[in-house]
């Protein structure tokens, strides 16, 4: 029966919905094959990215599938216990609802600590253990040594939702997209997975009638996509931000992003901590000279994916938007 579920997950080709795209069945199997006295399951509901609200939407509207998915994982792994690592701001809204759904099962809700980095899988393990949100060296991966040193499965809310749906044989290859910014029709939308970004905009009534660009995969760490680049599926976190070009202050926008990244910083590694600090200085001076060095160090040498993706994100904005903005103004 349980073997059955894993082959179904594999067959459906469920990829991690946190943006990692790591095949869910492989992650489950790698925890399964670890020999350990105890195992744990964590549902990551930290939802830290700017503009991301799909996990909140799922928890509010479809919590029974999420809890079902966690139960399936606990069963499959013979895990000791499950945790839902919940964003502070969501606590009030969904805590009671989740509790009701959980019933007497061994699933505990833990309040998230720290900023964006508090949602990184090794950092959240530290928080559940009672420590500070700081990423840990990988390997060992949480699948090998997670909570209290035991193999731990960490999956996103939406990944568990999919499993819950598969279990009940109700899965329809759906995916949730959080569409915000200057979007004409803001909100979280449930659509078919695998469709192109343009199709997403079209089917949600979000094709702007103004000049725009998109930031996809996260309001802070996502990458910039121009209107001519949208005929590809969204292979990142289900977040689309639409920005109107007219009257846009590029520096104010970057400041907002970098403020968020500094706020969510763990202070651990040099390139991310100091690099972002210097990028902020450049933004405030409205002069990005020297930024390439910062991005290079962040991309190549950051301790965890926050620094790397922050750099990729900023670079795509500098190249696709700021550069043209300058050229137009000159």
């Amino acid at each position: 029966m349980m073997k059955d579920i894993i082959s179904k997950i594999e067959k459906e080709g469920i990829l991690g919905r946190s943006g990692s795209n790591f095949p869910v069945h492989l992650k489950w199997e790698s925890v399964k094959k670890e020999k350990a006295e105890k195992k744990y399951v964590v549902c990551n509901a930290a939802e830290g990215e700017l503009g991301a609200f799909k996990d909140l939407f799922i928890l509010k509207n479809h919590s029974r599938y999420v809890i079902e998915g966690i139960r399936v994982a606990i069963d499959y792994l013979s895990a000791e216990k499950g945790y839902i690592y919940l964003k502070k701001e969501y606590f009030e809204e969904v805590h009671d609802l989740l509790k009701e759904e959980i019933g007497n099962d061994e699933i505990e809700i833990v309040k998230k600590k720290g900023g964006y980095i508090g949602g990184e899988e090794t950092a959240l393990i530290k928080v559940i253990e009672g420590g500070v949100p700081e990423p840990q060296k990988k390997p060992p991966f949480p699948t090998q040594k997670g909570l209290w040193g035991y193999p731990t499965l960490v999956n996103n809310v939406e990944s568990f939702y999919c499993v819950g749906k598969i279990k009940r044989e109700e899965y329809e290859k759906e995916r949730f997209y959080s569409i915000f910014g200057d979007a004409p029709n803001k909100g979280v939308h449930k659509l078919q997975g695998g469709i192109t970004i343009r199709e997403i905009l079209e089917s949600t009534g979000n094709v702007p009638d103004f000049e725009y660009f998109l930031k996809i995969g996260g309001g802070a760490c996502g990458i910039i996509m121009l209107p001519e680049e949208l005929d590809v599926p969204l292979r990142r976190l289900g977040v689309i931000m639409i920005y109107k070009k007219e009257g846009l202050d590029c520096y104010a926008l970057m400041k907002k992003w970098v403020d968020f990244l500094l706020e969510g910083n763990c202070d651990k590694c040099t390139p991310c901590r100091e690099g972002l600090y210097r990028i902020m200085e450049m933004i405030e001076k409205r002069d990005m000279e020297g930024v390439e060095d910062m991005l290079f160090a962040m991309e190549k040498t950051s301790f965890c994916p926050l620094g790397t993706s922050a750099a990729t994100s900023l670079r795509s904005f500098l190249e696709k938007v700021l550069k043209n903005d300058h050229e137009n103004k000159n």
Binding site: K137, P139, E263, D267, T270, E281, D293, A297, F303
Partner: protein, 564 residues
């Protein structure tokens, strides 16, 4: 397994890091936050190397894999190192003229190697304050590069006075404000900070001050652990015994008289073995040693209930200091005010010890200044005195030569061995129980006496907790706050590490084996002191004994900056 570094085929063992293999094969990789004594943080990102021609990974934390291809010096490696170094310098306020790393700073070396512009950015922390913990230690937070080795080592020392505070990218190392936490001045933070953010009070701005007083008689006394480490300040490997050279150098520096602290240690041994026997007869065991001022402060602050168990015998340099001043005033007619006595110590807590009120008599302290091994090296270099190749000098009469036992005080176990040797006439074999704890038992006059030698304060904490549960667990415990004893002290040259401490220990061992007399009580100097100065119980008590008191938290002294 086989890996390739810079095109060279090398053998590696499972579990080794790229840095381990590189070091073993003499391949240079710059490291900053890496320190062999603490866990790998991999946070400075200076030691990155190129792995399998695709990614840059920190060599300190990346484990080797069979067939791995590593390049340590490609253009992207160099570029990443240069940028990360520039960023590290951007949060590190330089104060190179007054830094304990002196001319031996890794950050500056790498700056040269990677053509780093150290002032490319305005210092982010230029307005960060400097803190002073008591009268021994300073932490200049404007130099901190956030590696947090100090926090780990402070915790490892069983103290946990250094903490993190703040949020996000502005988290910082901060001395605890909690009433139940205080610094005990071991100085291990100094030894494990790559950025020179910690230093002893007085390093180095006060170092020369005492030497400028011309009308005074300037006296130096040298602690045992200094002789096996001072050479490192002059580029020699750890463990060279340079006692003779140091004596001559200090004379050249203007020292009128030079004495050897191990002679004071011989007196400590005499008194402490007497006290141990007395307590064996009359009660009051276990006896705890008190030579280490950091340990004493640890007891006074964290475990005051054990104060009655601390031996009342003063530490060697305090006893010898007192004897020297006594001798100069009574036998040579020199006014104690005209004497200036400097102890050269591997320790920063000794700076605190000499300020203790109980030690002063009529306003005169046994020792006027404590100079660390580092300060001494700096001073000699500044005065162009080359220790290497200096003629070997001898310490002065009437406190000329110490015993083997006295010199052995410089490493963990020395105090205990000396006292027991003095009592039973043979050396005891200790059994290592764990890192930082060794035990032995002896039978004396029909009694079985249990002995323990402890170094590192975390181990000391465990020993005290054990004694709380079972007061009869030990009868006599030696504790040194620093790993390895004074030889690994917070005043020793940097860099320092566990393996260097071992080398120094071997050097100290050789230095003690040079001594003709083995036991403290057989030392003619000791006999003479008891015949001429320590003639009555009253005099012994006045010169050799002290008392302790419960300590409260030292107010934190903060030195604000107005650069911003």
């Amino acid at each position: 397994m086989k890996i390739k570094i810079n095109g060279k085929k090398l053998l590696a063992k499972e579990g080794e890091t790229i840095l381990d293999v590189s070091k073993r094969n003499g391949i240079h990789i710059p490291t900053l936050c890496y320190h062999s004594d603490v866990t790998i943080k991999a946070s400075c990102r200076v030691c990155v190397v190129e792995v399998n021609r695709e990614e840059l990974l920190p060599s300190c934390s990346t484990k080797v894999q069979n067939g791995m291809v590593v390049e340590t010096d490609t253009s992207s490696v160099r570029r990443a190192r240069k940028i990360n170094l520039e960023l590290l310098f951007s949060q590190h306020q330089e104060e190179c003229h007054d830094c304990i790393w002196n001319l031996n700073c890794k950050m500056l070396d790498f700056a040269k190697e990677y053509k780093v512009k150290i002032n490319k950015f305005k210092d982010r922390k230029d307005h960060y304050p400097a803190y002073r913990f008591g009268c021994s230690l300073e932490f200049d937070s404007s130099k901190c590069i956030d590696c947090r080795n100090c926090i780990e080592i402070c915790k490892e020392q069983g103290v946990g006075f250094l903490e993190m505070r703040g949020k996000s990218h502005l988290r910082e190392v901060f001395p605890s404000e909690r009433k139940d936490k205080d610094c005990v001045h071991c100085g291990q933070c100094i030894n494990h900070c790559p950025a020179g953010a910690f230093e002893a009070v007085g390093e180095f701005e006060r170092t020369e001050k005492p030497l400028k007083k011309e009308e005074i008689t300037l006296i130096f006394q040298i602690a045992p652990a200094v002789r096996a480490a001072i050479g490192e300040e002059f580029g020699l490997p750890a463990g060279f015994n340079l006692m003779g050279e140091l004596v001559s150098s200090l004379r050249q520096l203007g020292g009128d008289n030079i004495f050897d602290v191990p002679v004071g240690a011989d007196i400590t041994t005499m008194e402490e073995s007497k006290e141990f026997l007395k307590r064996t007869e009359e009660g009051g065991l276990p006896l705890l040693t008190s030579c280490c001022p950091s340990w004493v402060r640890f007891v006074e602050f964290y475990y005051p209930e054990f104060i009655p168990h601390l031996t009342t015998v003063r530490s060697p340099h305090i006893i010898l200091g007192k004897l020297i001043k006594e001798y100069f005033s009574t036998k040579k007619g020199v006014d104690p005010q005209e004497l200036f006595l400097i102890s050269i110590m591997p320790c920063v807590a000794k700076k605190h010890e000499i300020e203790r009120e109980e030690l002063a008599e009529n306003g005169v302290r046994p020792v006027d200044y404590v100079m660390t091994t580092r300060e001494t090296g700096r001073l000699l270099k500044k005065n162009n005195i080359k220790l290497k190749g200096m003629e070997k000098g001898r310490t002065d009469d009437p406190f000329g030569e110490a015993s083997f036992s006295g010199v052995s005080y410089g490493a963990s176990g020395g105090v205990m061995q000396s006292a027991i040797f003095n009592i039973i006439g043979e050396r005891v074999q200790f059994k290592k129980v764990s890192s930082g704890l060794a035990e032995a038992s002896i039978s004396y006059k029909g009694r079985n006496l249990r002995l323990a030698v402890v170094h590192g304060l975390k181990n000391a904490r465990n020993a005290l907790e054990g004694l709380k549960k079972d007061p009869k667990r030990y009868d006599y415990v030696e504790v040194m706050a620093c790993p390895g004893g004074c030889i690994g002290g917070g005043g020793q040259p940097v860099p320092t590490s566990e393996s260097m401490t071992k080398e120094r220990r071997a050097g100290l061992r050789k230095a003690s084996e040079d001594k003709e007399v083995l036991k403290a009580k057989d030392n003619p100097v000791v006999k003479k002191v008891y015949e001429e100065i320590l003639t009555t119980e009253k005099e012994i008590s006045r010169i050799c004994h002290t008392r302790y008191h419960e300590a409260s938290k030292t107010p934190l002294y903060k030195n604000k900056r107005n650069n911003k």
